[in-house]
């Protein structure tokens, strides 16, 4: 698996792909907001970019943690290129749109991504797995919080639309 990730050499391009997949997973919240097709397409692209930014910030956080804990000079762009491959399970995040089993799929994919990050930290920087867990945790939590905020905001807007409908 690690060899495959090393061979991927996709870097930041994958971050955009994962962002798009995540954005597509909550397409229905945009439908529930009763937006027109053009608005939905625009919102999806904006959400994809915001989610990609959240993932990039997570990687930046890894870089800072590496500097603080392992005294590795901060090279965020190089690190993003190296660690980006860890995000590949996120390309399937669109499946989180499925009802009821969505939590299971989301937790599995996110745990997989985190495991990939820990493995790549060991391969590229020689950091043991336990230390890798500590180094990668803050960035992972930061990315998760930002992603959850984007999703929650969209669904809250859809519930408000529903409340207006019922309230009339």
């Amino acid at each position: 698996m690690v060899q495959a990730m090393l061979a991927m050499d996709t870097g930041l391009g994958l971050v955009i792909g994962v962002g798009l997949s995540m954005s597509a997973s909550h397409l229905f919240s945009l439908l529930a907001n009763r937006l027109c097709l053009r608005q939905i397409a625009l919102q999806m692209v904006v959400d994809a970019l915001v989610l990609s930014l959240a993932l990039s910030l997570g990687i930046l956080c890894h870089s800072l943690m590496l500097m603080l804990m392992e005294h590795v000079p901060p090279q965020p762009i190089m690190m993003a290129n190296r660690m980006g491959a860890a995000l590949w399970p996120g390309l399937f995040y669109v499946l989180v749109a499925a009802p009821y089993i969505s939590d299971l799929i989301a937790v599995t994919l996110l745990a997989w991504i985190h495991l990939n990050v820990i493995l790549l930290l060991q391969v590229h920087y020689g950091i043991p797995l336990q230390e890798g867990l500590v180094v990668s945790l803050p960035g992972f939590v930061l990315a998760l919080v930002l992603i959850a905020l984007v999703f929650a905001q969209r669904w809250r807007a859809s519930y408000n639309t529903l409340a207006r409908e019922v309230g009339t």
């Binding site: 909550h26 229905f28 919240s29 439908l31 529930a32 009763r34 499946l95 749109a97 499925a98 009802p99 009821y100 089993i101 969505s102 799929i105 669904w155 859809s158 519930y159 529903l162 409908e165 019922v166 309230g167 009339t168």
Partner: protein, 363 residues
């Protein structure tokens, strides 16, 4: 006479020709199968390796997850398409109960029955119909039992008449009822139930549930309006949900209360429900449960929201201030001869529902 013998001769020739074709086809198939097995024998031997089997199982597992997810997404899509108004849209809630018709039904209590996941059409199976007849006779004159609501479709029409998939469902129901092969009938029945299970999943999903439950609540409210319900005259609506219908009832209750402007209460019979539903505004929820019901017991595991481990779930929060009445019937199972609709238990279930109705009416 000669015409008759000519017809018989023609029929015989026809049958002979049929047999010849069948024999030739069987021979060709056998030769092809023999050649095919010889060609793939080595590949088949490789396939039987434990590593290959593991790879195959992984692939099948992954494919299954993807297929289940895609079917779920498709099912959600139909609900949202209806919400968007692309399937003739949703009615305006303000126009549901326009004016009080003096000749309309004078009932004050409305019992709405929501069937389990076996439901494929508006008509209930014979055993359920008999049970509902008993219930109808047992409730007081002031109450009206509303039957035949398809709990797993959001449009006013049944699955057979849905705009996009009617041809598929009609074919499936026809095969389910009339196909001579038992396996085909079972497979078709499984497909119908799988569709309904997905709907239960959507109803309990915290993201999609509100929209779908609203659509179902509107469907029930329209049906009530059609039989003479009016908020100014009615005093309550009681949703009686069997099995997966319990989830639909709990999911819909709060929305229905807002639409109908009367208190709504829920009675589940062998209910399988998530506890994710919005129960905050409900006063009465009751459960009629079988002591030997494995499906309801499995439901508690499949839906962790009802376990004490999650005290902040909607169900557990409601339990802190709500009044849950539980009627346990000894030895009753989920369905079949020991289920709630069986001759042996239906009177006890009807009695439990009537006790609950009397108890909550007084309260």
């Amino acid at each position: 006479m000669s015409e008759r013998s000519a017809a018989i001769q023609h029929h015989r020739n026809h049958l002979r020709l049929g047999w010849r074709v069948v024999v030739i086809l069987l021979l060709i198939t056998s030769v092809l199968a023999f050649l095919g097995v010889s060609a793939v024998r080595q590949d088949a031997a490789i396939l039987l390796n434990s590593e290959s089997i593991r790879e195959l199982v992984t692939m099948v597992g992954a494919l299954l997850v993807v297929v289940v997810a895609l079917v779920g997404v498709y099912s959600v899509m139909v609900d949202f398409v209806f919400w968007e108004g692309w399937m003739q849209g949703l009615p305006d809630p303000r126009d549901l109960f326009p004016a009080l018709d003096p000749n309309a039904s004078g009932h004050r209590h409305y019992l709405v029955y929501l069937d389990g996941i076996h439901q494929s059409e508006e008509d209930h199976p014979p055993r359920v119909s008999e049970f509902l007849q008993h219930l109808e006779q047992a409730i007081d004159r002031d109450s009206l039992l509303v039957k035949g609501i398809e709990a797993y479709t959001i449009t006013p029409v049944g699955l057979k008449s849905t705009p996009f998939g009617h041809w598929f469902w009609q074919r499936l129901f026809s095969l389910q009822e009339h196909h001579p092969n038992g396996w085909v009938r079972f497979l078709c029945s499984f497909c119908v139930q799988a569709n309904n299970v997905i709907k239960v999943g959507i109803s309990s999903d915290r993201r999609y549930g509100p929209v779908m439950n609203y659509e179902l609540a509107l469907k029930i409210a329209r049906r009530l309006a059609a039989i003479g319900f009016h908020p100014s005259r009615a005093s309550r609506v009681v949703l009686v949900g069997y099995s997966g219908g319990g989830e639909m009832a709990i999911g819909t209750a709060a929305m229905l209360q807002k639409l109908c402007h009367v208190p709504v209460q829920v009675i589940t019979v062998c209910g399988v429900f998530s506890g994710n539903g919005d129960l905050e505004t409900l006063e009465h929820v009751s459960m009629v449960v079988g002591a030997k019901d494995p499906v309801a017991a499995l439901g508690r595991i499949a839906y962790p929201g009802r376990l004490p481990l999650l005290p902040l779930s909607n169900w557990n929060r409601w339990l802190t201030y709500g009044r849950l009445h539980r009627y346990e019937i000894a030895s009753m199972s989920h369905n079949g001869n020991s289920g709630p609709f069986s001759r042996h238990y239906r009177d006890q279930v009807v009695a439990a529902i009537c006790s609950e109705l009397a108890l909550t009416q007084a309260g």
